[in-house]
Symmetry: C2
Subunit: 384 residues, 2 copies
Amino acid sequence: MRRVAVIGIGMTKFGQHWNKDLINLAVEAGSNAIHDAGIHQKDVEVLYGGTMSGGLFINQEHLGSMLPDYLGFKNIPSVRVEAACASGGLALRQGYIDIASGLHDIAVVGGVEKMTDLNLGSVTKVLATAADTEREAVFGATFPGLYAMMAKLHMHKYNTTEEQMATVTVKNHKNAMHNIFAQFHKEVSISDVLKSPMIADPIKLLDASPITDGASAIVLASEEKAKELCDTPVWIAGSGHATDTISLHDREDLLTLKATVGAARQAYDQARVSPKDIQTVEVHDCFTIAELLALEDLGFVKKGDSGKFTQDGQTQIGGKIPVNTSGGLKAKGHPIGASGIAQAIEAVLQLRGDAGKRNTNAEIAMTHNVGGSGGTAVVHIFKR
Amino acid sequence: MRRVAVIGIGMTKFGQHWNKDLINLAVEAGSNAIHDAGIHQKDVEVLYGGTMSGGLFINQEHLGSMLPDYLGFKNIPSVRVEAACASGGLALRQGYIDIASGLHDIAVVGGVEKMTDLNLGSVTKVLATAADTEREAVFGATFPGLYAMMAKLHMHKYNTTEEQMATVTVKNHKNAMHNIFAQFHKEVSISDVLKSPMIADPIKLLDASPITDGASAIVLASEEKAKELCDTPVWIAGSGHATDTISLHDREDLLTLKATVGAARQAYDQARVSPKDIQTVEVHDCFTIAELLALEDLGFVKKGDSGKFTQDGQTQIGGKIPVNTSGGLKAKGHPIGASGIAQAIEAVLQLRGDAGKRNTNAEIAMTHNVGGSGGTAVVHIFKR
């Protein structure tokens, strides 16, 4: 397989876009990415896009045909993939495999979701289709409830506290202050989080990522093309993808996301690095407990130690391993299909040294994108 | 890129499965395929699956996590792709790219759709999300209407007749008589077609493919594994994928599916063959006019000549190029995501000489899978 680099990045502001539809968002992100790469529409040979549910959110499937047309990539092959909240990460991986295979030399890989066209109750129902509809969702187990069960068990088993979980929110909102594309630019305190409305005990409103519209895109190139077109290529050193039971109740251990463990192992092995080599990571913090679980399953801390590690400031910028410097899903926003690619964009900004006040001087970065309650995980390792 | 072979095939009967859900269908097809390949669940390294709309048909997204779990392929990477009615063909292509890249050696590639849980009106609305929702579907342009416009223009421009289109139905129903997996086992006459209820002039009920539940799966292997595991590998000699505007009204020529032309060119070039070398083909006959257009766009006849060619019997078994020996979408049935893989299964049966009374003694076969009104096309060429 050939080496593959990221040579361009682009995204929309994440937030509530009342005056833009899904296509507007996708075109904005895609255009920004090819502009950043310094290439033209005609140079793009293939498109990979991740969207969770065009069908249920905006009544539009077949985006693989629609988007290249509106982006001006006439008649190229275009692939829509779906893996719930990991749709963006999966699009990245499939684009990577395509370029690595030798089939194409330049790909645009993106993710997009338009969520705010529906009311909040409907959005919750759509998101619940990422769980097992007939064995979880119909019994009322939406995602806050599923992650709440993990959080309760983590608290019970490892003495993890609500304050420790709240620390994730405080850190991610602080990081997002310096990210112009983030949905929220507002610092919050531990007390703000603890006092926010309870959704599913112990998950409170400020433990949860928001509902967001947005799109993100990157340009991938083969080694030869990357060297020809780009002075600051960021290399994909490792790619991993694994699945687990879609239902939480089918797992041997509610506190280990086997999909994350498996995907990380593949990525570490391919990149020939270990957790101690990763200098910054974007993890899938759909809820604060999810960031804690990720730190454990990715191998940065021992199982059960993530709460204290976070409370000690080790995941802040300047800490042992800065986590979610972009603001994460919590504060940057979580437009489902777009989140995985936005993570990759943050990794690229960090490795280019273009993350401004968020810079970590990292040379190796990781992204971690999860679908559902851990039914899918996609992990990538990037090097400059 | 490495050579890739099909080493196993399996499908469910296509039809109305009132007592089986999507998972039951997918597990039946997948299990049949790995049984046919003579491998075990643990040998499967990656899964690719095509489904048009789990969300709108059965309120279940994230099938990429759900299906490997139920199939016993624990924790493997699993990718759901969607390209409307070309979802199955696209899954095949992405599985092919994966194995060809060197990443994995054995893949199960499948397609599935459970359509009959909804009433007919709702199914029509779901299918319309494969068109441009805001610029076609909201104005009432569902697929029979879109293809009817193509048919009317073909009749006007090339003197194609309703009888010629009806010949497609008669032939495909005749072929399906010998396919135990087909939805319909009932011969029909030209007069039956012409007298059937009008849906969208000139498309009548018997010009249209039916609503169907079903699943289909094949096992792909790298050259090394294929030779080790299989006495009768069928090689993927060419793979092509292209897109066109999702909206019919945006095309320069309503009677040329540029996506088909582009995908076919890629496949022909890769396989180093031309239309005259193809000995049997499964084309995307969602409506009878679509089979005629495909014959032209794939290069088997000159633009405008497909009606007469068909009426002259040249697409029957024993004719110049047997088309849709399986019964096609029209008579075998069209469970959207499953159709592209079922086409590949027919190609494999033909090349193995296992198609019974449908055998054509072909050594080179083609499949042609279309999404929407031609927004996506995927073409594969197989050799024994």
